[in-house]
């Protein structure tokens, strides 16, 4: 009689479980990162939008989200409902995804990605979105954008995976999807009241920096755990993740110092996040020196990108488009340049290692993710706007989300 858990490697499993916990920590880390950047009257409302994703997406994932994203494919477009309620997702390994790790460990690892991705979008419509509508948006966006996109890129039989595109830990699935969806959201939701006239500086950058540090820490699980094994590949992902982040933090800080006269804390923190985003798709395919370049370019490119919102006059309040959309795009394309089979023999070589075809495939996958995320998010938000309304009332926006949406105050001095 077979015991449950034969073929399970304890080292691999330990690493995946730890990585799942690390990625889980990134969601409250994001909450603090964003929370410090808004005005104090909105700190709880902002934190809550990230935090509550842990509640909502967990249940959605278990009930049917995991099945849609990773279940048996229907035409390479979406998974079936075979694994609804995690039926069939047991404690034995599932070789297509996790040869040496219980299937449920892989499932819970992936769950944490599904949780944080929609939370990223909230930065775009900070300080003005209705909480009730947001809860519904979480469910709809996960179901109609995240789950299909995850299936295309990572699902067994997914069409982008079959095309040969490389996305180690979520450049397409997490960052481009949230970044471009954020663009759609800012266009529909509109600017904050008083934007451009009233000062809206960050109320607590110490909180933001703490959040950035937690993101950096958790990201070791985000990229390292995507090896779905403990060993050389996880090590590579861990190492290049760290290097890219450091490089990008310095890069953003220096560019801002030269352009604006000050090396800012917010710049260093933002640069670090940009570096984390950029290396995400590449982390299982590139080496340390490539990571310096990917992070260095990512920090500068994202810094320049956030200035676009002033040119085009849209209020992407916390720069989701500039950091995740643009950073993820650079990372996905950089993978097409710097990937090397010497790092990961199951991957491919990029342009700089003699294979010009990969960059084209990466570009195609990027454009597909852009278009799909943008269009579906636009439709979802339009429907929610007509039925429930997206924005809080003007009075509630002035009084702040904390008191109007949650009946609480973040601080009582």
């Amino acid at each position: 009689m077979r015991r449950i858990g034969m073929n399970v490697d304890t080292g691999d499993t330990a690493w995946i479980l730890i990585s799942s916990a690390l990625v889980m920590l990134m969601t409250p880390g994001l909450a603090l990162f964003y929370g410090g950047m808004v005005r104090s009257k909105n700190v709880l409302g902002t934190i809550m939008q990230s935090f509550i994703a842990l509640g909502v997406i967990t249940i959605q994932w278990v009930l049917y989200g995991y099945s849609l994203a990773f279940g048996p494919t229907i035409g390479g477009i979406i998974g079936s409902f075979d694994w609804m309620g995690l039926r069939g997702v047991g404690l034995d390994p599932y070789p297509d995804y996790s040869a040496t790790v219980p299937h449920q460990a892989f499932m819970i690892f992936q769950m944490m990605f599904a949780v944080i991705t929609p939370a990223l979008i909230t930065g775009a419509f900070a300080e003005r979105f209705k909480f009730k509508t947001y809860l519904v948006f979480l469910i709809l966006w996960s179901t109609f954008v995240y789950d299909p996109l995850a299936h295309w890129v990572w699902g067994n039989g997914g069409w982008i995976k079959n095309l040969g595109a490389l996305d180690f830990a979520g450049g397409l699935v997490v960052h481009i999807s949230s970044g471009i969806s954020a663009l759609a959201a800012t266009l529909i939701v509109g600017k904050r009241k008083g934007y451009g006239d009233e000062p809206m500086p960050p109320h607590n950058l110490t909180m933001t920096l703490l959040g950035a540090a937690l993101l950096w820490f958790g990201w070791f699980g985000f990229n390292g755990g995507s090896a779905v094994a403990s060993g050389s590949l996880a090590t590579n992902a861990f190492v290049v993740t760290h290097i890219s982040t450091a490089s990008a933090a310095l890069s953003w800080m220096m560019v801002e110092w030269a352009y604006r006269g000050n090396p800012t804390v917010l710049g260093a923190a933002s640069g670090a996040v940009a570096g984390l985003v950029a290396i995400t798709p590449a982390s299982g395919f590139v080496g340390p020196v490539s990571a310096i370049i990917i992070g260095g370019v990512g920090g500068t490119v994202c810094y320049l990108a956030i200035n676009l919102k002033f040119k085009f006059k849209y209020d992407d309040s916390l720069d989701v488009v500039g950091v995740h959309g643009v950073g993820g795009t650079w990372g996905a394309l950089a993978t097409g340049l710097f990937a090397s089979k010497m790092i990961n023999s199951t991957g491919k070589d990029g342009l700089f290692f003699g294979n010009p075809s990969l960059i084209g495939i990466q570009a195609l996958s990027v454009v597909s993710a852009w278009i799909y995320s943008f269009v579906i998010t636009l439709i979802l938000l339009k429907i929610l706007d007509w039925t429930m309304g997206l924005r809080v009332s003007e009075e509630h926006e002035i009084n702040g989300l904390d008191i109007s949406q949650h009946g609480e105050a973040g601080y009582s001095f």
């Binding site: 500086p201 917010l266 956030i306």
Partner: protein, 112 residues
């Protein structure tokens, strides 16, 4: 009885308080305030967004004293709080109609 309201630079508070205590002034009320006169603010930049901060942090000291001590108190405050740079602050004098000590009910000179 007069009330002296002095708006001074925050870092001068300790020196002013000590100097007033030395000349016999027993109590004061202090508030943290924001304001500007001729002193310019500064600019802060967060991710490319520029914010001009007009209001500067200041401290307001309020003391209520007998008429006989007013001149000396004002001279002390001005001497100690002055730096010579713009933004040193201002002193205002306000007549007080009555003062009452809550604990004992004393009024007038006995209350201050």
């Amino acid at each position: 009885m007069k009330k002296i309201e002095a708006i001074i630079k925050p870092f001068k508070l300790d020196d002013v308080k000590n100097a007033l205590t030395k000349i016999g002034i027993q109590g004061m009320t202090v508030t943290e305030v924001k304001g500007f006169g001729r002193q310019k603010g500064h600019t802060e930049i967060y991710r490319g967004a520029e914010y001009t901060i007009d209001f500067l942090p200041k401290v307001k000291i309020e003391i209520v004293i007998q008429d006989e001590w007013v001149l000396q108190a004002i001279e002390t405050i001005q001497r100690i709080a002055r730096t010579g740079k713009i933004g040193d602050g201002k002193i205002f004098l306000i007549p007080i109609e009555e003062a009452i000590r809550i604990r004992t009910g004393e009024r007038g000179k006995d209350a201050i």
